[in-house]
Amino acid sequence: MAGEKVNRIHLTEKDYQGSPSTMCRGCGHDAISASVMRAFYESSVDPRKVIKLSGIGCSSKTPAYFLGQSFGFNATHGRMSAIATGANLANHSLISIGVSGDGDTAAIGLGNFCHMMRRNVNIAYIVENNGVYGLTKGQFSATADKGSVMKGGKVNDIPAIDIAELAITFGATYVARSFSGDRKQLAPLIQGALAHRGAAILDVISPCVTFNNHEGSTKSLKYAKEHLDPIHDVDFIPHHENIEVDYEEGKDQEVVMHDGSRIILHKLGKDYDPSNKMQAIVAIHAAIAEGKFLTGLIYYDPTRPEFIEDLNLCETPLAELGQDMLQPRAEMLDQINAEFMK
């Protein structure tokens, strides 16, 4: 359409849309989808090169509501991490975005999730964290805070799993937390996750307005807004944009990504260095003790090789190799057989 704004690959924002959402009106997950579309548009990512992966849950349904031109895979409950690992091995030229829930990731899928991060699989993995199993009508998940009250009045007396802390501990190399309603912070963090090569985990507080939005819940819209504790404001500058930034000494910090993109962190009072693992974990614990949600880029390590580098995979994706490349030659097999007979 004449005059319609396009990005660097001549796509409009509409080209990043999907089917109409079936979420409840006001659900945090829809707001996150909007940020996802914004991030892909702003970073000028070709949707045909993207694979969308998810598990089971309201959150896991959302990849149908963005990037309609991308392949999507709704895995079984809690198994997205394993599918993502396999997809990455089969074709590492594709850009993976994973969307999961706190139940899908931190309850049934916890084991798979930990191993995916341990392997530093290249993915932008968003946990749409509402503290409950939304799809099955609001039971507590493993991220429900101790003392939080369920809609029916039941009080949770088991401590929560903190996804950001878990991610840092298990080897993820880009760990951020944000809030569904904060597109200004969330969209650039997603752009950063897409530019990063390795496991990028975004723990996004995403209120379930139907089952976990009442007084006494620590993941309600009101509670979340009142307890957000941003470390910094975040800007993302894609590698293809040659923008000069005026840095304020001691206040702004630039993080250069693998592809040359830059994340600019504008500090908000605290002195915080996201490359410091110990500091990151201490800061998370301090925030938990104060009942706050620490948001921003919490941890970043560009030095660790991603999974396919560790495995020394060839440049051509495995899925595109023919039989001639995948089968050993007869002499080679003879040699292997001979080795066993020694």
Partner: protein, 233 residues
């Protein structure tokens, strides 16, 4: 203890076959021919639709994979008609698979009227048991089952024998139940040999159970049935 040798590894001779995968070029051609690509539509009548692989850059290539809640064009659907159509197509696909899964391996001996069927790690003890039975005067034919769903060769094998011993390593005769559900008319020919004492199957135990069953057939004694030497379901 853990040093074992197998036959030397051999190269597969079959070309790779990924099934009905459609490339971007084919999609382009289909479009020119006015042919629609429909992800879950049974175009060939075998229950197996054409599919694209991620990385295919054609505009029409991408689709969303989810459970059974979709229509023939991979669109999300809660319509009961779509759901039933999907499940019926999958039934059809399973039936098609009967012709393509690995075929059973059949070994025959002259004049044998008794059949033995086994699968997996029961094979070696069954082989030894058949030798011992032959020495004791009972010749058997053998079918090594290698895949489900069951195919026509297996049905013919059961139908060609008065008696078939189906050896499996579980308490309930689960494989026998599959046979009986597929071919109820042949069910009475199947007797289960069940091994579930926590130890590897032995030829001795297989021979013991088959002999006990044969003895019962010749003497008509009900005794073995009470002792549940052979569970028949």
């Amino acid at each position: 203890m853990n040093l074992w040798s197998s036959e030397p590894l051999a190269l597969g001779k079959e070309p790779f076959d990924r099934g009905k995968v459609v490339t971007a070029a084919q999609l382009e051609q289909w479009e020119k021919q006015g042919k629609k690509s429909r992800r879950y539509f049974d175009a060939d009548g075998d229950g197996i639709p054409y599919r694209t692989l991620p990385g295919n850059m054609h505009r029409k290539a991408a689709y969303f994979t989810r459970g059974s809640g979709h229509d023939a064009d991979a669109r999300y659907s809660e319509d009961e008609k779509d759901y039933k159509e999907t499940l019926d197509r999958l039934r059809h696909k399973l039936d098609t698979a009967r012709k393509y899964v690995p075929k059973p391996i059949i070994e025959t001996s002259d004049g044998a009227k008794t059949g033995v069927i086994c699968f997996g790690s029961s094979y070696e003890p069954v082989r030894e048991a058949r030798n011992r039975l032959r020495a004791a005067g009972l010749k058997t034919n053998h079918l090594l089952l290698r895949a489900l769903p069951l195919g026509e060769e297996t049905r013919e094998f059961v139908a060609a024998h008065d008696r078939v011993y189906l050896v499996e390593q579980n308490r309930d005769g689960q494989m026998a139940a599959v046979f009986k559900e597929e071919w109820p008319e042949l069910g009475s020919r199947i007797a289960s040999v069940l091994i579930y004492d926590g130890l590897p199957a032995t030829a001795g135990e297989i021979v013991r159970q088959i002999k006990a069953h044969e003895a019962h057939l010749t003497t008509g004694a009900e005794e073995w049935r009470e002792k549940k030497l052979i569970a028949s379901i």
